[in-house]
């Protein structure tokens, strides 16, 4: 671990601790540089390779740090940088691994999606800047850095959703996303100011210690916490700030939908976990029982997401609602950390983190399959998907894996992640959350299996000649995501152990 033997106060130490973030931002700048140096070449291949290399190197560094114990109890605990505004620990690295994996899959898939695009550099750089900001969200330890990194992630996302400038759906989705995002950012910033007013600090640990003394300002603190919660609910597409999600996911280019619904949602949870577990834990007794709030919202989100998904005729929109439902499952983790007993807290939060990781692969894969269909121009509804398994068996098999895994059938990673989450909720005393989760999850098999049925059991209705072209990048991304989703069942042990250890360190 030569990197970390550098003097802890030097700037080199800070840079190396934030290695993944630095690599991501450098690769984004490299993409811009390549495009500026030869603006007419429009070399999609070169740009995609640069972006893919950047995300994969960042992923490699993150995994290396995780295995080597950087920022974890094994090597002396969390690394605090910039006066504690940023803290690199196991949890931050775990979430960064999710973001970089998703970004890598999306970049590889976008190579084909952007084949005929006029300006691919903009797309790749926006994607990389958003990923950079997400990796900062995962390590932000002060409400100021949280807000800045959250907005840094949101701004490129708005542009990405509206990336298909000539497509009305895409532009409308981008506008809608932007307006709701702007409102929620305002609410969030106001919430931060109220919390600051009550506690006199922006650093999360300092807020936690100051909460004990806010006797007459408890009401202000409570309102502040609720408004901060609103900001997270927007980012994670949870009820009641979910309205943008179906439009944005449906209207955006499918790789962007994959990125937003997997990575951006996980980023929202990364900050939410850290802020609420580290800063607002003492506020439970003083100001507001946010655990109950998140519990109720989890129930509403699970029910609404799953029932709305069951009524859709458009596959992409169905996946958008399913993504809302999965936000509800992760919210269980946020609600159940209020149980009080340290070990249970760590278990359930670790389970929610592991679920977000598994979800990152299966959901990204599913949206990238949609991207493949969009590229073939087959159509959007379940009827249009009929018989695709006949022409594209490999990709359709991967899609079946994603669907069954999202539904939680015990064949793929999605089973264990849900099982651990529900079990953790029961052990933390939130058995009603687990019950709603189990019921909605059983219901979800209905609409997920409709996709499988359309792909494999139905006979083709339209002309599927377009399927003769085989986009290599999309295929590679979908199949890699599928293989990982399968392998996450036998290999779930290391994932959950890492997640639980990271969560335990936050509560320690």
């Amino acid at each position: 671990m030569s990197l970390l033997q550098i003097e802890p106060t030097s700037w080199l130490f800070a840079l190396s601790s934030l290695g993944p973030t630095v690599v991501l931002v450098l690769s984004a700048l490299a993409v811009l540089a390549i495009d500026s140096l030869s603006p007419d070449a429009r070399s999609n291949t070169r740009l995609a390779a640069t972006a893919a290399a950047g995300t994969l190197i960042a992923l490699g560094i993150t995994v290396w740090y995780l295995l080597a114990g950087t920022g974890q109890p094994a090597t002396g605990g969390a690394i605090s940088l910039f006066s504690g505004a940023i803290v690199v620990d196991g949890m931050g690295l775990f979430f960064t691994a999710i973001f970089t994996s998703v970004a890598a899959l999306v970049v590889v898939a976008s190579y084909d999606y952007l084949e005929d695009d006029a300006n691919p550099a903009a797309f790749y750089s926006l994607l990389l800047f958003a990923t950079t900001a997400m990796s900062l969200m995962a390590v932000a330890n002060s409400l100021a850095t949280v807000f800045i990194s959250l907005e840094m992630a949101s701004l490129p996302s708005y542009a990405l959703v509206a990336y298909l400038k000539t497509n009305r759906g895409s532009v409308e989705a981008g506008l809608k996303y932007f307006l709701i995002g702007a409102v929620s950012a305002a609410v969030f910033a106001f919430g931060i100011s109220l919390v600051y007013a009550a506690t006199g600090s922006l650093l999360l640990p300092d807020i936690a210690t100051a909460i004990g003394d806010v006797t007459d300002l408890a009401g202000i603190l409570g309102v502040g916490i609720l408004m901060v919660a609103g900001g997270f609910l927007f980012k994670t597409a949870s009820v009641p700030f979910h309205f943008w999600a179906p439009e944005a996911y449906e209207g955006a280019p499918a790789p962007v939908s994959a990125f937003l619904s997997s990575a951006s949602k996980a980023a929202g949870f990364a900050v939410a976990f850290r802020v609420f577990a580290e800063a607002f834990m003492p506020a439970l007794d003083v100001a507001v029982d946010w655990g109950l709030l998140f519990g109720i919202l989890a129930v509403v989100t699970m029910v609404l997401g799953n029932f709305a998904a069951a009524t859709q005729t458009n596959v992409k929109r169905m996946l958008a609602y399913s993504s809302i439902g999965h936000a509800g499952y992760a919210l269980i983790g946020l609600a159940a950390v209020t149980a009080g007993a340290g070990a249970n807290n760590a278990t359930v939060m670790g389970a929610a983190m592991a679920h977000l990781l598994v979800y990152g692969f299966m959901n990204t894969g599913a949206f990238l399959f949609i991207a493949m269909i969009e590229r073939w121009g087959v159509g959007r509804t379940f009827e249009d998907y009929a018989g695709i398994g006949r022409k594209a068996p490999m990709a359709s098999m991967a899609m079946a894996v994603f669907m069954f895994s999202l539904a939680g059938l015990p064949l793929f990673g999605g089973f264990f992640s849900k099982y651990f989450l529900f079990l953790g909720a029961i052990n933390a005393g939130f058995w009603w959350l687990a019950a709603v989760g189990a019921v909605t999850s059983a219901l979800s098999l209905y609409y997920y299996s409709r996709v499988v049925k359309a792909l494999w059991l139905e006979e083709p209705t339209g002309n599927l000649d377009a399927l003769d072209s085989k986009p290599t990048g999309l295929y590679a991304a979908v199949i890699v995501a599928g293989v990982i989703t399968v392998l996450l069942l036998p290999g779930f042990g290391p994932v959950i152990e890492t997640a639980e250890a990271a969560a335990a360190a936050v509560f320690a």
Binding site: L409, P410, F415, F420, A442, S449, K453, I496
Partner: protein
């Protein structure tokens, strides 16, 4: 390591077959499916175990490795066989190879996917019968459903989509009920793993504690009932049998063979392993309702078969009837009752496989299965017809065939049962079922196979090719072999079932 080798080979074979072009898939799949037969026969010859795997007996080919940990419980890769599971593993490998050969004629579309799914299902079935850790077992158990869903849904008859989804939904809901019940059971036990032997022995030692205010005795009864419902759907017994005729009629012949031959045995195997081995006292408490379910399945299943006009539906409903015998044998809690029920699982697997295959061969030639559309087939396709007749007699329990041995053991066992009140009455009622079986099978035979030749379809009747007849002959040979020498399996089965009786049932 032989079990791991068997599983790894079968999974790899499935992947290989998925990848080859359609025109080579059938022969390659058949060739590859012979290797697991060799493996399972080797296991049989090298089998050295005593007692029941769950109650502390010696386990053959046992391997344990940690998998992951959940809430203080260790999940393991834990496989091994005893006298109950080994015959079922042999049955699985044998029947899969024959089912693959019986698919050569009817399957003419997307062959590599079809045969790949067959091998994938075989691998998971071997896993179901060898897994000794609950989670491992559950993964294989559910993984069997997916290939079957596709086999019915893609290659099935006109109402295949409805049948496939009905099958999938029924069995998945049943699994969920069973899973939740079993979790409640394990979390009320002082065990630190999901190993089935550890759980069984802890239960036998009376270590069950209260669960969320539910006293241990009530919890055990509730769990028994929930698991019974969960597994009963798979068996299936009346009244949760309605998915079966739909699935069978729509499924292509090879899938029907696997469904009746092996998949139904998953249900009875799980009942034996979980309900009757882990909770024998609760089984005795529920003896009368279970006895009634068994007898109603026997009689009502047979009556339904009597009312059908489609040959495949007749065979399908008769499976419901035969599974009733198995349940009766299990609930009897006697040496011959339990041993006979386990033996009947294998025997019925072979016989129902033969019946579905023979009906399939006739359908390949006539393109109809409706009894009224044909008669006098015996003159035109003698070999297939005589094998069908032989299979029907095996079904009726002709001595020196496997069906006779299984049913005879069950009746001997259930007649003298002390665990089941009014056992002679239940046995007598169930024996009456044999009369109805003979009735509908003979009636259907007489109308379709004998008399003057008549066929009301637009197709020319052709003789069945060799590769259709060969699996039939092989199955018939196995049925006669087990009928003449039941001890080939029965000794090891008794070795593994007798320890269950000592736990608290009858004797």
């Amino acid at each position: 390591m032989i079990i791991e080798a068997l599983l790894a080979f079968t999974f790899a074979a499935a992947l290989l077959v998925f990848a080859v072009p359609n025109r080579y898939a059938h022969k390659l799949a058949f060739g590859l499916s012979l290797v697991p037969i060799v493996g399972s026969l080797y296991m049989w010859s090298a089998f050295e175990a005593g007692g029941n795997a769950l109650t502390g007996g010696q386990i053959a080919f046992e391997t344990v490795a940690p998998w992951l940990e959940v809430a203080g419980y260790q999940l393991q890769w834990y496989v091994g066989v005893d006298g109950i599971s080994l015959p079922l593993v042999v049955l699985t490998t044998f029947l899969t190879a024959l089912a693959i050969m019986s698919a050569w004629t009817p399957i003419d579309d997307r062959q590599s996917q079809f045969y790949g799914l067959m091998l994938l299902m075989e691998a998971n079935l071997i896993g179901v019968f060898t897994a000794l850790d609950f989670f491992l077992w559950f993964v294989f158990w559910e993984a069997v459903l997916v290939p079957m869903y596709f086999l019915i849904g893609v290659w099935g008859g006109p109402r295949r989509k409805y049948a496939a989804i009905k099958f999938f939904v029924y069995t998945n809901i049943a699994s969920l009920v069973m899973f939740i019940a079993f979790m409640a059971l394990v979390f009320s036990l002082p065990v630190d793993s999901f190993g089935l032997p550890e759980i069984t022995q802890s239960l036998a030692a009376g270590e069950l504690t209260a669960f969320y205010g539910l006293p241990a005795e009530t919890l055990a009864l509730v769990v028994f009932a929930a698991m019974f419902v969960g597994f009963a759907v798979k068996v299936p017994v009346v009244p949760v049998h309605t998915w079966l005729p739909d699935a069978h009629v729509e499924a292509p012949t090879p899938a029907s063979v696997m469904l009746a031959g092996v998949l139904l045995k998953m249900g009875t195997y799980a009942l034996l392993r979980f309900n009757f081995t882990m909770l024998p006292e609760q089984a005795s408490a529920f003896a009368i309702p279970i006895g009634i379910i068994a007898v109603v399945s026997v009689i009502y299943g047979a009556m339904l078969a009597l009312a059908q006009t489609d040959l495949k539906r007749i065979v399908a409903y008769s499976s419901v009837s035969s599974m009733g015998y198995v349940i009766l044998g299990l609930i009897a809690f006697t040496e011959f009752g339990m041993g006979g029920a386990t033996f009947q699982m294998v025997a019925h697997g072979l016989i129902s496989g033969l019946m579905f295959m023979a009906v399939g061969v006739i359908y390949n030639a006539t393109h109809t299965r409706i009894v009224d559309d044909m008669s006098g087939l015996a003159d035109r396709m003698p070999v297939a017809v005589w094998i069908l007749v032989a299979g029907a007699f095996a079904y009726m329990g002709l001595p020196l065939m496997a069906g006779f041995a299984g049913e005879f053991f069950i009746f001997v066992g259930s007649f003298g049962s002390t665990a089941l009140p009014y056992a002679p009455v239940f046995t007598a009622l169930a024996m009456f079922g044999i009369v109805i079986v003979a009735g509908y099978l003979l009636l259907a035979m007489q109308r379709t196979l004998f008399g003057p030749f008549r066929l009301e379809t637009d197709y020319e009747l052709t003789r069945a090719p060799m590769h259709d007849i060969a699996p039939l002959v092989a199955l018939l040979g196995a049925i006669v072999l087990l009928g003449v020498a039941p001890s080939l399996f029965f000794d090891m089965i008794l070795d593994a079932t007798v320890p269950i009786l000592e736990l608290g049932g009858g004797l």
